[in-house]
Symmetry: C2
Subunit: 87 residues, 2 copies
C-alpha cells in the first residue's frame, strides 16, 4: 500500500507551518509558549518535526486560528472606520 506522504513528512510540514505562522504574527517561541501555557521546549520540538501530542497540535492550531480571527476583526473594523472623523 504505497504511502505518498509519510508520517515523518507530515510532522515536518506541521512544524514548518507553526514557524511560518509564528513569523507572520511576529511571535518568538517563548512568547507563543507563554500564550499557550506550555514550555518553549515543546514548541521547539514541534517545529523541528518531532512527535508531539494532539493537545499540543490543537493548542497551536487553535491559537493561530484565534489570532487570525482577531486580526481580521480588527482589520475590518479599521476599514469601516477609516475616513470617519474622530470628532
Amino acid at each position: 500500500m504505497l504511502e505518498l506522504v509519510t508520517i515523518k513528512q507530515t510532522k515536518e510540514e506541521l512544524g514548518k507551518w507553526c514557524k511560518l505562522q509564528r513569523d507572520r504574527f511576529e511571535l518568538s517561541q517563548q512568547e507563543l509558549a507563554d500564550q499557550l501555557g506550555i514550555s518553549r521546549y515543546t514548541i521547539q520540538k514541534f517545529e523541528s518535526g518531532r512527535n508531539s501530542t494532539i493537545d499540543t497540535v490543537l493548542k497551536i492550531a487553535h491559537h493561530f486560528e484565534d489570532l487570525e480571527k482577531f486580526y481580521n476583526g480588527v482589520k475590518s473594523y479599521n476599514e469601516q472606520n477609516t475616513n470617519r472623523s474622530l470628532y
Copy 2:
C-alpha cells in the same frame, strides 16, 4: 477569545470518527491495532477521546485513507469487469 470548538470536543470527534471507519471496514480494535503495529489499548484510548500522539493519529488516518483507496480501486476494477465473460 471565544473558542467555539474545544480541544476536548475535537479529540472526542476524532475518536468517534475512528470508530465509524472501523465499523465501516468491519475491523475490531484488535485487528486495527495489529494492522498498525500498535496496541489495542492505544486504539481504545484514542476512540474514547483521550490524549494521544501525532504518530497515532496519522497512523490511523493514513490507514483508513489507504483502505478507502484500496476499496475504491477494487470497486472500479469490478465495475469495469462485470458483464465480461470469464471465458
